[in-house]
């Protein structure tokens, strides 16, 4: 069953800038999908439509057969809890420790303190950050911060992970660590959608690749390499 479906989706930003045009895509549960394209090709917009940061201008995006644009504004936070997000700029809360940043995702969904105390160390262990749980983001390297982000995205056991250039700010070693983690998460059944510029990653992954250009899908290959 498809977890995500784009149906004739277009997105026009104010000022009549066409960011996406007539996108039709089906993403199956458990897939590992890379989205490639130049800056401004519409990668980030496509991802924003998934986690409802932006709304479609035309067409529909379905998540588990439910149109996202039909979700009541009030219920969006609950919808977002199905989705883990990872970004190039990490987006960690600067005044919280690694542990607290991960715990925050559980706190907002009213998990009990016992569950938090059990789940957070477990997930920090998975991403290999158990020993840095009480460090603040500013005390961590880029790679370490991104691992905390991944832990935060994972801790609620989302159905899908959206990663927007997660390795954009990382050195090659850290980059590979993050990709390895994404693969590990994917192998446990979570769908991963990765937007990236990094040719090496895409080539080595050898998974489905979607290329965007000027807001349109120009290529969709099952086991592809980086090419625009």
């Amino acid at each position: 069953m498809p977890i995500l479906k784009f149906e004739n989706v277009s997105k026009i930003y104010p000022g009549k800038f066409m960011a996406l045009e007539d996108i039709n895509l089906v993403i199956e549960g458990g897939e590992f999908l890379s989205i490639v394209g130049h800056s401004g090709s519409g990668k980030s917009t496509l991802l924003k439509l998934i986690y409802a940061e932006e709304q479609v201008s035309g067409g529909h995006v379905y998540f588990n057969n439910r149109a996202i644009d039909s979700i009541n504004q009030k219920h969006l936070p609950y919808y977002r809890r199905n989705i883990g997000t990872v970004f190039q700029d990490f987006k960690l809360l600067p005044q919280k420790t690694a542990f607290e940043n991960v715990a925050y995702a559980l706190e907002v969904s009213d998990e009990t303190q016992e569950e938090i105390n059990e789940l957070v160390p477990e997930i920090l262990d998975i991403v290999g950050m158990a020993d840095k749980a009480h460090k603040y983001p500013r005390q961590l390297s880029g790679g370490e911060q991104q691992k905390i982000c991944l832990a935060r995205a994972l801790v609620r056991k989302p159905l899908i992970i959206i990663a927007d250039e997660p390795t954009g700010n990382l050195d090659p070693t850290a980059t590979w660590e993050i990709i390895q983690l994404l693969l590990k998460i994917n192998s446990m059944g979570t769908t991963v959608v990765l937007a990236t510029h990094n040719k090496d990653i895409v080539d080595k992954l050898n998974r489905r690749v979607i290329a965007l250009d000027g807001g349109k899908v120009i290529r969709d290959i099952k086991k592809g390499r980086y090419a625009i």
């Binding site: 504004q73 809890r81 960690l92 005044q95 706190e107 009213d110």
Partner: protein, 303 residues
């Protein structure tokens, strides 16, 4: 709202307050300065009023009656005057009481008591001592009395002698009230504006975090509540700070006000009104803090 949410957002607010040390310090300072200026204006206004009321209480108009007017007649007139709404109180002072008072004043002055002894008869007149509700009304009252049907029985009204002092006092009172009110309104306005701006900037600093919280799936209430609590902390701490500053200020001003406020000086005023002042500060601090917080967040909170 669930207790767990309330507990967590409270803790969140407290953490924000503690961990953003400098930002909290700056916000509390601005809030405290505004509250301080506002409360000093109000307290100065109140104590100026008290000083003036104190002086005002000492002012009165005496209406002296001809010596042939009987006591019962004077009391009859008094009853008539009681009906005037401008009059606060009327006291009857008989010529015997007047003499006794005069002798008391004259005790130390031999020539007065000698002079009184010389005259067998009591030379003083019975009088009605009238206090007006408002000093500006003395003029009206004396005019009404001199134009009344018993004006023939009146020997003299000593208002004319005090007129200059009374007029000056009533114009001073009016001026103090007007200036105090105008300054008060201006300072309240400036205070609200500055506080609002400071808290708006604080929220602006958090703007990036709102986005993160939304992406993690926090509901609006979960994002907003910690800042509401933060506003409450700002208000509370500022109220404490201002209480201390006001105490120091009143200690400093105390020698100037001693004796002119009924019941002591400004320090005793501070202590006798401690809870009213503190409560007022706490409520306005919290109100200002949370309201500007909520208004500021609204701008940065889109779902």
């Amino acid at each position: 709202m669930k207790t767990i949410k309330l507990k967590r957002t409270f803790k969140e607010g407290l953490d924000n307050f503690r961990r953003n040390g400098w930002l909290s310090f700056a916000t509390v300072s601005v809030l405290a300065i505004s509250l301080y200026v506002i409360s000093v204006t109000i307290i100065l206004g109140i104590s100026a009023n008290m000083v003036l009321k104190n002086v005002q209480d000492k002012i009165n108009v005496s209406v002296y009656f001809n010596s042939d007017v009987t006591e019962s007649r004077i009391l009859e007139i008094k009853d008539k005057l009681v009906g005037y709404q401008e009059i606060q109180s009327i006291d009857y002072v008989s010529k015997e009481q007047a003499l006794a008072q005069f002798r008391k004043i004259g005790e130390k002055n031999v020539s007065i008591s000698q002079a009184l002894d010389e005259i067998d008869d009591n030379p003083l007149l019975s009088a009605l001592v009238i206090k007006a509700k408002n000093p500006s009304q003395y003029d009206l009252i004396t005019k009404a009395i001199s134009n009344s049907n018993f004006s023939a029985e009146i020997s003299r009204i000593d208002y004319e002698e005090n007129k200059a002092a009374i007029d000056r006092l009533s114009s001073v009172i009016k001026l103090v009230e007007e200036v105090g009110l105008t300054l008060g309104i201006i300072f309240v306005f400036i205070g609200v504006l500055i506080t609002f701006n400071a808290i708006r900037l604080t929220m602006y600093a958090h703007k990036h975090e709102f986005e993160i919280m939304r992406l993690v799936g926090a509901s609006n209430i979960y994002i907003r509540m910690p800042f509401v609590f933060e506003g409450i902390f700002y208000g509370t701490v500022a109220a404490f700070v201002v209480m201390i500053c006001l105490f120091v200020t009143s200690k400093f001003l105390a020698p100037l006000t001693r004796g002119s406020i009924s019941g002591g000086d400004i320090v005793s005023f501070y202590f006798s009104h401690f809870f009213i002042i503190f409560g007022g500060l706490l409520i306005s601090g919290i109100f200002l803090g949370t309201l500007s917080g909520i208004i500021a967040i609204r701008r940065y909170l889109k779902v």
